[in-house]
């Protein structure tokens, strides 16, 4: 469309960007300063690069804080190189040769997007722009009116322009858009009056209602999913996920070939049934116990955090009070020193002040050390408690798992009994029912059948052991992580505070020193 054919395409290089930044930067005195110092690209908030005959967007990765970018009236063919500009709010790409919308997936803060006068045929790839308010797509090649429905997902969209597209010629164009995008306020730079809105709503009511219904369904499904995921997450935090049902039992038989074969034996089905019931009950016990323990641990952690927070706050308040007191005194003495003319007086005063500074930093350090000691004690206490809790939990879970194993052993014995009975019957030729061939193949001799039953049993035991191990390792690692984190946090806190105190002391000292120097120079 709009092309400056007479000019050679240009590349977005450093010089061009510097020039633009310099031109658009501060003026007058501030400009002089800016020139003197140079402007960093990452401090630039707005950049204008129009009519530059740019073919390809490039070299923009340094502009991290850019809010507004104008690239209109160039020959850009592809949207690219904008990934780093995540703070962008305003993007103008009008009057270019763009054919598809792409490369905007990281611009989550974008509110105003102009793609006016390009060669776009399809509206898509805008999913990431959740804050979009203004979208300009006029003078493009959009031909399918139904695709407008895509724009329903932008809840903040208020202004849309689509004039100059093939769809705008459609007789129902305005009505259709008003009906499907009811929150829109401006369409093609004109306000949509209420009357039009009502008319449109009535006209397309049937289809919009259906659409809404579908959307609601989708929303509900998503919410369901979300809720389920959250629940699972919660269970995982308690380390007892998937124990509130027959999941473990089912997994025991999932890979167990012999087991499923043996299940078809007469009498085994009932046995399985009772076994499963009992097993599931124990699993549920573990599950509930796990949740309860999780709550207990959480409560423990919360009280601990609260108390520590209180202690730290109180200590901070004391520290702040100390510093504020000092500050007042310090300012006063600084001004008296400035006003003083006698050199000896100045020196004594400076010495006094020096002492004061030392005293302050001592006092602050004492406070901090005191807090460190207090916190250490508390943290150790908490550590003991939480470790105890975890151990208790593991112990109980293990005993419950042992019950599972007992059940499995019991089941195994019963199964073996049945299997041997059947074998005997087969040997005696008394078996009434027909067995499938692969099952019958197990009853060749005693060893085979015993091996088969044993293999199934081993498999089951392995599964139970695995689950138990998983739980125990995870809870232990959680515990160690937690304790480590608390220690580490406390350490960083301490270091930060010490650094802060030192920094402040240095600063005050520096102030005093500079005063001294100034006086001596005078």
């Amino acid at each position: 469309m709009h092309q400056l054919c007479d000019m050679e395409p240009r590349v977005m290089d450093d010089d061009m960007l510097k020039l633009a930044v310099g031109e658009q930067g501060p003026r007058d005195e501030a400009g002089q300063l800016a020139k003197q110092e140079g402007i960093l690209f990452k401090d630039v908030l707005s950049l204008q690069l129009d009519f530059q005959n740019i073919l390809r967007i490039d070299n923009l990765w340094q502009f991290e804080n850019l809010r507004k970018l104008q690239l209109d009236n160039n020959t850009i063919e592809k949207i690219e190189g904008l990934e780093k500009l995540t703070r962008l709010v305003w993007l103008d790409l009008s009057f270019n040769n763009i054919e598809t919308i792409e490369g905007l997936d990281t611009l989550v803060n974008l509110e105003d997007l102009s793609l006016f006068n390009n060669r776009i045929a399809k509206i898509d790839s805008l999913d990431a722009l959740v804050k979009l308010q203004v979208l300009s797509l006029g003078n493009n090649r959009i031909g399918n009116l139904m695709k407008i429905i895509y724009l329903r997902r932008f809840k903040d969209l208020r202004t849309l322009s689509l004039a100059g597209n093939p769809i705008a010629a459609a007789e129902d164009y305005r009505m259709f858009i008003c009906a499907y995008l009811p929150d829109l306020v401006y369409l093609d730079f004109r306000r949509i009056d209420d009357h039009t809105k009502e008319l449109a709503e009535v006209k397309h009511q049937y289809s919009t209602d259906e659409l809404k219904h579908q959307e609601n369904l989708m929303q509900a499904r998503l919410e369901d999913e979300q809720a389920r995921r959250e629940e699972l997450e919660e269970h995982k935090a308690a380390f007892v996920e998937n124990l509130n049902g027959s999941f473990l039992f089912d997994s025991m038989y999932a890979e167990d070939v012999e087991g499923s074969k043996l299940a078809s034996l007469p009498g085994v089905a009932e046995l399985m049934e009772t076994y499963k019931d009992k097993f599931v009950i124990i699993c549920l016990n573990i599950f509930e116990y796990g949740l309860k323990q999780q709550e207990k641990r959480k409560a423990e952690l919360d009280t601990f955090n609260e108390r520590v927070q209180e202690a730290v706050q109180e200590n901070q308040a004391q520290g702040r009070h100390r510093t504020a007191e000092f500050e007042e005194k310090h300012l006063l003495s600084l001004s008296t020193i400035r006003g003083e003319s006698e050199l000896t007086d100045i020196e004594t005063k400076i010495a006094d002040q020096r002492e004061d500074i030392a005293e302050l930093s001592n006092a602050l350090m004492t406070l901090e050390m005191q807090l460190v000691e207090q916190l250490e004690e508390t943290i150790n206490m908490f550590e003991r408690n939480i470790v105890d809790l975890v151990e208790l939990f593991i112990e109980n879970v293990q005993s419950l798992m042992a019950q599972c194993r007992d059940l499995e052993n019991h089941h195994h014995e019963k199964l073996l009994e049945i299997a041997i009975n059947i074998l005997e019957k087969i040997v005696k030729g008394e078996l009434d029912e027909d067995l499938p061939d692969d099952v019958r193949a197990l009853f060749v001799d005693k060893d085979t059948i015993v091996n088969a039953v044993g293999a199934s049993h081993d498999m089951h035991l392995l599964k139970i052991d695995n689950r138990e191990d998983e739980l125990v390792t995870r809870v232990n690692s959680w515990c160690t992580h937690l304790v480590d984190k608390i220690h580490k946090d406390e350490m960083t806190r301490n270091r930060r505070r010490v650094k802060e105190i030192n920094q402040y002391g240095d600063h005050v000292q520096g102030e005093l020193d500079s005063l001294e120097c100034g006086d001596i120079l005078d």
């Binding site: 005195e29 402007i39 401090d43 202690a311 510093t323 207090q374 508390t378 802060e500 402040y504």
Partner: protein, 869 residues
């Protein structure tokens, strides 16, 4: 036989008794005789004894009239019930007298009962009937405290004619309210009427009070308004050390030293206390020096409110003079003779040696409280006791009184008219709208609203000494002022004036405390910050500084302090620019900004060309960032102007950041600050102007003191009154017009014509003529009618006269009277008829002409008749 004998004895007894009573009360008893005969159960000896004793007793009727003299009371306008007694009331008086006699017989050492004093019409009325329960139409009077306050304000107190006796007169509340003064019995009767009307279980009490109480002397009482409400110190409960609470650092101070210190403190305290106690004792001595020789003998009347009704949790006394409530154990109440409400009368049978402290107010217990009438709502406590009484009735007082009367006899209705208080009087409250109460070291003056033209309604003056010579402070309460001034507090010792305002002052002023109205002096102004655009709460001024406190501003400004130094005269001419003075501003934390960029305090040291910034402290830090700008505009060695150098900005950052080190950033920050400095100074200058403006406004308001009237106050609001009257006038006129318009002379004639058709000229003429002729006919008929009646009356009279002359000799005086009265009436009728006839003759032509004119002007005929005129 036995029964018959008893009967005879009874009759005899009754006759004797009647005779005795007749000697005192006259023949009014006749009617009651029958009733009494049946029930008397006294023995003859007893009666004789009684008779003898009764004859000894003289019912003393004090001649001395009550303090407000009789001639001021206009009894002619009072209704009949005030001037006479109904039979039922007479009966009641008999009962009461009988009761009184028996009582004085059985309790000879007690003073006579206060039962039926005379009312303003010299008629004896039983005290209970003087109580007229009335619920007042004012919501303010629904509760006992406001009710009592009203009575105490409304009536002026008169002392009893004889402080040792109950008065001989007890006026109705109607009279008392009209004259707005009364003694304690009048007070308590009125208050009791209102309280019972409002649903309280209230009683008038006749008893003995202390001197202060009887004389409404509050000079030894501390004024309730001066008593500061006790600050409830809520001891913050120390939470028990919770789990994981950190241990406090070890206390390294010496316990011994602490103990020593504590001991010393205690000694000082003890010494102080001792001194204080001595002082107290001295004061007590002064007080007790003035003991009352008549202590315990002074008669007083007050109101008792019993618990139970209206959610009153505990019985209490109300002193009607002062409207204060006292517990029933109070020292001021020295004894109770009797009490009554509108239904019954009780006599206290309990010993009052310990004032009223041991009294039990269980009116249902006949041992403690002897009642006059049976069958009231107070149930008897122990029915067994009554049986007991019946067995040995010889020495029992109560049964005599009780069984004399009909069981179903209850208190007659009150003879007093309903209590009425007009809204004007209610508002005026005190007599003449003013009341003064003297308290201990304080004087309280009250005025009715709108009485003082500056809106003053109450003034409390507190004194330093008991003699009230040295004023300590004055508090003045105002109402309905246009400038919303509510309270003025003047402290005479410090010279500090504090004005309190209600919301609605044009400058949103809330409190203004000052020593003088001159500008540039110490003063504090507080504002209703919600009503101000700038959110100013408080502005403190001293001669050299001004401090302002803000709240809820969008720029989070909380404090601004301006140091004027020596003030320059003529502020108005000075613009803000030319007067450099240090300004300190503080800000609240702006949650939208990170702490390092959120300025907490900025100081513009204009003379030093220095700007100091202090930022807010980060959440987890104890030090805050600081920045100091020096605004030296210098020229470097080459003669170029230095825009910004690193030493022009000294900054301390909690966490050093890169971009803040840049000169450009600092330059921009400084430029911004320069602008803001200008703004701040301008605002300071504006504040000064505002102070001047407020002071001017206050002065004007003080001088003008305009009072506002509510739009609902129809009496005072002149505008609305005029408007309402105009409206009423218009309505009235409209009504008259309508009545006139409704009379349609033509309707009967128009009805003869076919409906819906337009009148022709001929028809119209005929219509008019018919109407007129009809009217003429009616006038003639009326004249004839009057004439006929006149003639008939005359004939009748003549006939009667004839008859009289014929039978004159034989007539009885009655017949003659009848004839004469007939004659005079007939003559009167004839004269009237004559007058009417004459009047009719005079008016008839005029009326005829008026109708004719009206018909000519009638809209239906006017078109058609115009041609002929």
């Amino acid at each position: 036989m036995e029964v018959l004998k008893e009967k005879v004895e009874e009759e005899e007894a009754a006759e004797r008794e009647d005779a005795a009573e007749r000697a005192e009360r006259g023949e009014k008893m006749m009617r009651l005789m029958e009733v009494r005969k049946e029930e008397t159960t006294m023995t003859q000896e007893m009666l004789r004894d009684l008779e003898r004793k009764l004859s000894e007793i003289e019912v003393s009727i004090p001649e001395k009239p009550s303090t407000f003299t009789k001639d001021t009371i206009d009894i002619s306008k009072l209704p009949l019930s005030y001037k006479s007694n109904t039979p039922k009331e007479e009966h009641l008086l008999q009962v009461a007298d009988n009761f009184s006699r028996q009582y004085s017989l059985l309790c000879p050492d007690r003073v006579p009962l206060f039962l039926h004093p005379l009312n303003e019409c010299e008629v004896p009325k039983f005290v209970s009937t003087t109580i007229r329960p009335t619920l007042m139409p004012y919501p303010e009077l629904y509760n006992w405290d406001t009710c009592a306050q009203f009575v105490s304000d409304f009536l002026a107190m008169l002392p009893l004619p004889d402080p040792l006796k109950p008065p001989s007169y007890l006026y109705s509340s109607t009279t008392v309210l009209k004259h707005q003064k009364g003694n304690c019995f009048d007070f308590s009767t009125l208050l009791c009427s209102m309280l019972i009307g409002a649903g309280y279980d209230a009683y008038c009490v006749n008893g003995y009070g202390s001197q202060d109480l009887c004389h409404m002397d509050l000079t030894r009482e501390v004024c309730p308004l001066t008593v500061k409400p006790k600050e409830t110190v809520q001891e913050e409960e120390k939470a028990p050390p919770k789990k994981y609470a950190i241990k406090p650092p070890r206390d390294l101070s010496s316990r011994f030293e602490q103990e020593q210190e504590m001991k010393r403190q205690e000694e000082i305290k003890a010494a102080e206390e001792k001194r204080w106690r001595q002082e107290e004792e001295r004061l007590m001595e002064v007080d007790s020096a003035k003991t009352d020789p008549l202590h315990g003998l002074r008669v007083h009347s007050w109101v008792l409110v019993l618990s139970g009704k209206r959610e009153v949790p505990e019985s209490f006394f109300i002193d009607p003079f002062t409207a204060r409530s006292y517990s029933t154990q109070d020292d001021n109440f020295l004894g109770i003779e009797s009490l009554w409400n509108h239904k019954n009368y009780w006599i206290n049978m309990q010993d009052c040696w310990n004032c009223c402290k041991d009294l039990i107010f269980d009116l249902g217990d006949p041992v403690m409280w002897e009642y006059l009438l049976l069958g009231t709502d107070k149930p008897l406590l122990s029915p067994a006791e009554e049986e007991d009484n019946g067995a040995n009735d010889d020495d029992d007082v109560e049964n005599l009184g009780k069984e004399d009367e009909d069981k179903s006899f209850d208190m007659p209705n009150s003879w007093v008219e309903q209590i009425e208080i007009s809204p004007e009087v209610f508002e005026t409250r005190c007599p003449n709208g003013k009341k003064v109460i003297q308290y201990k070291k304080a004087k309280l003056e009250k005025w009715a609203p709108y009485l003082n033209n500056n809106g003053l309604v109450c003034r409390l003056t507190t004194y330093e000494d008991l003699e009230c010579t040295k004023t300590l402070e004055i508090k003045e309460w105002y109402q309905n002022r246009e400038d919303m001034l509510e309270l003025k507090h003047i402290n005479k010792t410090t010279g500090l004036n504090i004005d309190y305002f209600k919301p609605g002052h044009p400058q949103a002023l809330r409190v203004h405390s000052y020593t003088s109205m001159q500008p540039e002096m110490d003063r504090v102004m507080e504002f209703y910050e919600k009503a101000r655009v700038d959110g100013l709460i408080k502005r403190e001024e001293t001669p050299k500084t001004m401090t302002e406190y803000y709240q809820g501003r969008p720029d989070f400004l909380s404090y601004r302090h301006i140091n004027f130094g020596p003030r320059v005269k003529k502020l108005v001419l000075n613009s803000a620019e030319s007067n450099p003075r240090p300004v300190v501003e503080r800000f609240f934390r702006n949650p939208a900004k990170p702490a390092d960029e959120d300025v907490a305090e900025r100081v513009f040291l204009i003379l030093d060309e220095r700007i100091q910034l202090r930022y807010h402290c980060r959440e987890d830090h104890i030090t805050a960032s600081k920045r100091e700008f020096l605004r030296r505009t210098e020229v470097d060695s080459k003669g170029n102007k230095i825009i910004m150098t690193p030493d022009m900005c000294i900054s301390f950052e909690v966490e050093p950041m890169e971009h803040t080190k840049k000169l450009l950033y600092q330059y921009e920050a400084m430029m911004k600050l320069k602008n803001e400095e200008k703004l701040s100074r301008h605002q300071a200058w504006e504040s000064e102007l505002e102070v001047l403006e407020i002071l001017k406004l206050r002065e004007e308001e003080e001088e003008a003191h305009v009072l506002t009237t509510s739009i609902y106050d129809t009496k005072r609001n002149e505008k609305s009154k005029e408007y309402r009257e105009a409206m009423e006038r218009v309505m009235h006129e409209e009504h008259l017009r309508q009545v006139e318009a409704q009379l349609d002379y033509l309707a009967p004639f128009l009805a003869q014509l076919p409906p819906g058709e337009k009148l022709t000229r001929w028809q119209a003429v005929r219509l008019k003529d018919e109407c007129l002729s009809d009217f003429k006919q009616r006038l003639i008929n009326k004249a004839n009618l009057i004439q006929a009646r006149f003639e008939k009356e005359t004939q009748e009279l003549q006939k009667q006269q004839q008859w009289y002359q014929e039978n004159q000799v034989t007539l009885t005086p009655e017949d003659e009277d009848l004839y004469l009265s007939y004659c005079s009436q007939a003559m009167f009728r004839i004269r009237i008829l004559e007058q009417r006839l004459n009047r009719h003759k005079e008016l008839a032509p005029l009326k005829y002409l008026a109708l004719e004119e009206k018909l000519y002007k009638d809209p239906r005929l006017v078109e058609l008749l115009k041609v002929f005129v």
